[in-house]
């Protein structure tokens, strides 16, 4: 074992060490990211973003955090009040069951629409789908 061989072995070990140093640094970044995500307030399962609202209530661009059961309609007792002449007082209910969203129409006069198609009773929703109650269009998004 002369000096040259020893130094060469040291260089080889330093290379492996640097690989692990890189990995450790990256993992620290990932852990910090995950902890920051965990500290955020308890997440709601989704939100509704208003895309179009001719009557102005709710306003366009407003975002509603959703509970597991959210009622929609013109009546002020609804979780999301839709003050639109074409919406019924108790129009529809959004529910989150299992890992899926469902929109249930409560026999409203003008019906509820998902992605432009009228629904019969209950319809399953995915994130990114559009819900229309009266003339108000809203999009379901992940929070």
């Amino acid at each position: 074992m002369d000096g040259f061989t020893l130094v060469l072995w040291a260089v080889r070990l330093v290379f492996l060490l640097l690989l692990y140093l890189f990995l450790a640094r990256v993992i620290r970044v990932l852990l910090r990211d995950l902890r920051a995500a965990a500290r955020e307030p308890a997440q709601r399962p989704g939100r509704l973003v208003v895309l179009e609202s001719p009557a102005g209530e709710p306003a366009v661009g407003r975002s509603f955090g959703l509970d597991v059961i959210t009622s929609l309609g013109r009546d002020v007792n609804n979780a999301i009040v839709i003050d639109d002449p074409f919406a019924s007082a108790e129009h529809a209910v959004l529910t989150y069951r299992g890992r899926n969203w469902y929109l249930e129409d409560l026999d409203s006069t003008n019906g509820s629409y998902v992605n432009g198609h009228p629904i019969n009773g209950v319809a399953a929703l995915g994130y990114g789908d559009e819900v229309q109650i009266g003339q108000v269009r809203m999009r379901l998004e992940r929070t």
């Binding site: 060469l8 260089v11 290379f15 890189f22 890992r99 319809a123 399953a124 990114g128």
Partner: protein, 476 residues
């Protein structure tokens, strides 16, 4: 800014042309500095071993590579997007290791001629690596909307299958596999591109039909099966791709497509029953194929007992096992492994199919674990981007793209280690090969673009597929 748009104007104009605010990316820069340091030490280790005196190996190549990384970093800083800062350094580390490996293999394994001068293995690999980083960076900066992917998923799928059929008819045969398509001086392997297209298609289809797949059941007696009719078009698309791939004898791509397909179905629906059905189908299919096709049976026989024919079919696998054994815990050091047999490395196709074995010999299991860790980091970033995405399409796309890299790395690493039968897919970012590097650059670029929080909101859902409308009325 000569004209200021009125306030009521739609804000969906491409902001690439608007004012750009640079945003520092210190995390990325710090990690890239670490990559540069590690690669310099690696180059020193390699150069010293090869020449017998202290010195770097191929300073010019290393400088070009690190310069390209710096340019990619600065371009992203100037673009000012809030994209992921870990992906580029992780990919850069893998690419750098690839460069060190290619510099150390015999340069005449690959010789390409561009503009009158010829380039050896390391030079060509360097060109493709820089190209992959350029593709990733440009996509990460420019792509601000995904509607061009989600709107045209059937078009993409058709284009992908068309590309494969074209390869089958017009392709050039190399090593008994018809995988390469040549147009004049340009040649490529379409299956690398097809894996990206497959993920785009599956993400689009599953996000549109996820709600139905989760909710409805087909009942056969006491069994609760998933809604088979809704799966039919997707399974058909998958079977077409798989059939062509099997006919082309590209088993690695078939395995990769199948793995991605199952993983995405599970990610979209959370139903283990679907995965179990898929696995059963897979086992039945492989048993049938092993009986029908000679080349499949050979692979499986070699996997079960490579020593049955040590100088013939089992040669590659046995040499790879010997390489791992010589490497041991810490490896023999960069440049010191791979005794040459008649001036060639002992493992045929070492630069495309067996880089994992070569690295196992030179860096040992300690080095291999670090490399696998970097792949895991890339997968974790992709899953994290998927979880944070605003809608189903983006989240499935990010998950699928990350898993393509992860599953591909697993298939070839397991093949090298004789954990799975050997199939010829590339080790992402490390194997030699332009198509593979560029396709993986495309994957990383899309992941970067998807990771931006300030990305354009998802477009309104378009007209629905026929399957979904049927489901809506049936769900009453």
């Amino acid at each position: 800014m000569a004209v200021r748009a009125p306030a009521a104007a739609p804000v969906t104009l491409p902001r690439v042309l608007g004012p750009i605010r640079p945003r520092a990316r210190w995390q990325e820069l710090r990690l890239l500095a670490l990559v540069a340091g590690a690669l310099a030490v690696g180059s020193l280790s390699l150069g010293t071993t090869v020449t017998g005196r202290f010195g770097l190996q191929d300073v010019r190549g290393l400088a070009v590579y690190l310069g390209a990384l710096l340019v990619a970093h600065v371009a992203q800083v100037l673009a000012g997007r809030r994209t992921d800062q870990v992906l580029l350094p992780a990919v850069a580390m893998l690419g750098g290791i690839s460069l060190l490996l290619m510099e150390r293999l015999p340069q005449d394994l690959v010789v390409q001629h561009f503009f009158g001068s010829s380039y050896g293995l390391a030079d060509v690999q360097l060109i493709w690596l820089v190209g992959a980083i350029a593709v990733a960076t440009i996509l990460g900066i420019v792509v601000r909307s995904d509607s061009w992917l989600r709107r045209y998923k059937y078009t993409w799928a058709a284009a992908g299958v068309g590309l494969l059929l074209l390869t089958f008819v017009l392709g050039t045969e190399i090593n008994g596999q018809r995988l390469t398509l040549e147009f004049g001086p340009i040649s490529g392997q379409p299956s690398e591109l097809l894996k990206v297209i497959l993920v785009v298609f599956l993400a689009g289809y599953l996000s549109e039909n996820r709600a139905l797949l989760v909710e409805q059941d087909t009942r056969v007696g006491p069994l609760r099966l998933p809604p088979l009719p809704y799966l039919a078009p997707m399974v058909a698309m998958w079977a077409i791709a798989l059939g062509i791939v099997v006919v082309q004898r590209d088993l690695g791509a078939a395995l990769l497509f199948f793995g991605v397909f199952l993983a995405l179905i599970y990610a979209a629906t959370g139903r283990l029953s679907l995965v179990l059905i898929g696995l059963v189908l897979f086992l039945l299919g492989s048993a049938a194929m092993a009986n029908l096709f000679e080349h499949v049976r050979t692979r499986i026989d070699v996997w079960l007992d490579p020593f049955a024919d040590p100088l013939g079919t089992g040669y590659q696998v046995i040499q790879a096992l010997h390489a791992f054994a010589r490497g041991g815990l810490l490896g023999v050091g960069l440049g010191a492994g791979l005794p040459e047999v008649g001036g060639r490395p002992p493992i045929p196709e070492i630069h495309t199919d067996f880089p994992f074995a070569a690295l196992g010999e030179e860096l040992g299991i300690v080095g291999l674990v670090a490399i696998l860790g970097i792949y895991l980091v890339i997968v974790q970033r992709g899953l994290r981007i998927g979880v944070a995405a605003a809608d189903d399409f983006r989240s499935l796309l990010a998950i699928g793209l990350a898993l393509v890299i992860g599953i591909q790395a697993f298939i070839i690493a397991a093949g090298n280690l004789k954990v799975l039968p050997l199939t010829g897919v590339t080790l992402p970012f490390i194997s030699y090969g332009g198509s593979s590097l560029l396709a993986n650059g495309l994957v990383v670029g899309l992941l970067l673009a998807l990771s931006d929080k300030g990305v354009e909101p998802p477009p309104p859902p378009g007209t629905q597929s026929r399957w979904r409308r049927l489901g809506r009325s049936g769900a009453a």
